[in-house]
Amino acid sequence: MADFISHNLRGPWTLFKKELLRFWRVSFQTVAAPIITALLYLLIFSHVLEDRVQVYPGVGYTAFLIPGLIMMSLLQNAFANSSSSLIQSKVMGSLIFILLTPISYLGVYLAFLAASILRGMVVGLGIYLVTIIFIDLPVEHPGWILIFALLGSGLMGTFGIIAGIWAEKFDQMAAFQNFVIMPLSFLSGVFYSIHSLPPFWQKVSHLNPFFYMIDGFRYGFFGTGDISPFISLGVVAGCFFALSLITLQMLKSGYKLRG
């Protein structure tokens, strides 16, 4: 048993701890900065729109906005954690220290995934704790909140691994972030309900997995959403599963990692 642990679990566990320390060492940049950014969004949008927009009956715009902002930051940071770690260690060459080890491809995946989830959750929780000081935010279904937070950060952590493996330079990663992650997160219903969009754009929004993550997460707070949380759960879990399979295949084959 002790042999099994040291041979199979200690490697991935060490990699997870290293990934955790990596972002925690620079927590001002990786945790505090996204919390402040989210609060700035909240300050500006709530100041401008609080008295003009009501999305759900009885829910103020600021309250509506908070879960969206929490989820958007959580998703972006989960993505940033795995992708930045991989691209940095690829560019600096230090990825060799992981490639030389006996850690299995599954172990590598789980370590990066767990660290990404943790960073996403820490940032999300940070924004939640700061905002509830100022705004009264209901929590109707904490289970849904937790499920969507975990699945969302897991999905984006996985997406980050794919991007980190694929990108060879920092500017490729920046392009991925600016042209894929940012549009998907801004056009997902963070700042509005998609019911306020014209029918065509509503349909387009339904093709965006971010929409389901944010709508399901928001449902946990208000008990109401644009679509059923079960549909969102199905879409998010399905995407997570598919991306996990792709990532595991990439790691197993050594795509862009082993010549």
Binding site: G11, F97, L99, L100, P102, G259
Partner: protein, 297 residues
């Protein structure tokens, strides 16, 4: 005894480039082995295959009897690789990095004493809590060696470990590596400094364009070129009768290959006859560099 390294009919192609052309090589446990060759000979490609950093097009490689592909976990546990480039993780200090590295290989707190020993032996003790990015080039090189040793592997591969390293560090490093070899670790070395291979290694493989062109003990390789080298500084041109003996010219000096000292008399007589004066003269044994030039050029 199972060989430390066993390589059978390994080919590696990168597109049209046939980088390794059917390498066969067996290295016994406890050997201090050198892999020599000019740039592009395939040394690093071979090491990358051993380390599992890339896969062979065909053929098989084993480390301590474990196939590097099908039994990669066991093979990698048996191998420590010091990469050629000065790579490092900028987030951590030396001791943290070494503990992480040991942990990746399944080693926990029980390994800390060994980590402390490596830190001490490589002269890193006063830098143990220094961030990797603040280390000088030489210190980074020591840390890289320490990282390869963190999990106490029986086989250690050093890919150009002394490139850009000052004499003092080079000597300290070799002293430590020799000690490890004395304790039973198999050492495989690639280097451009042929005198290092000559003094340290008991067996040498020379590679050229993806093939092993010589594989023998250091002594046998040196015996391949019997005779001596005669370095002459002359007042005029080398007489035509002596040109067949000319091996090379360095800084205006002629270096002749001679069978033994008895030949010296006739060479001097030939020079006298041609009216060429000897301004300086040096007689040396043929060294590995001569063998290398002979085989590889």
């Amino acid at each position: 005894m199972i060989p430390a390294i066993n390589i059978q009919q390994v080919h590696k192609r990168f597109g049209n480039l046939h980088a390794l052309k059917g390498i066969d090589l067996s290295i016994e446990q406890g050997e201090f082995f050198a892999l020599l060759g000019p740039n592009g000979a395939g040394k690093s490609t071979l090491i990358n295959l051993l380390a599992g950093l890339s896969r062979p097009t065909s053929g098989s490689l084993q480390v301590m009897g474990f196939d590097v592909y099908t039994q990669y976990a066991e093979a990698r546990r048996a191998l420590g690789v010091v990469p050629q480039e000065l790579v490092f993780d900028p987030f951590f200090n030396v001791r943290e990095m070494l503990r992480f590295q040991a942990g990746y290989f399944g080693r926990g707190r029980e390994n800390d004493a060994w980590v402390d020993e490596i830190i001490e032996s490589l002269g890193l003790a006063d830098k143990a809590h220094t961030n990797m990015r603040r280390l000088s080039g030489g210190m980074k090189r020591r840390a890289l060696i320490a990282q390869a040793l963190a999990h106490k592997p029986p086989v250690i591969v050093l890919d150009e470990p002394t490139a850009g390293v000052d004499v003092e560090l080079r000597q300290a490093m070799w002293q430590f590596i020799r000690r490890l070899n004395g304790e039973g670790h198999t050492i495989i070395l690639t280097t451009h400094y042929l005198e290092e291979a000559e003094t340290l290694c008991n067996r040498i493989a020379m590679m050229k364009q993806g093939e092993i062109v010589a594989l023998d003990s250091t002594r046998n390789l040196l015996n391949r070129l019997p005779g001596k080298r005669l370095r002459l500084k002359l007042s005029g041109a080398l007489p035509a009768a002596l040109v067949p003996l000319l091996r090379e010219e360095q800084d205006g000096d002629c270096i002749l290959a001679i069978a033994d000292v008895t030949q010296l008399e006739s060479i001097l007589a030939e020079l006298r006859l041609a009216g060429v004066a000897v301004e300086d003269m040096q007689l040396t044994e043929a060294d590995l560099e001569d063998v290398f030039v002979e085989l590889v050029s």
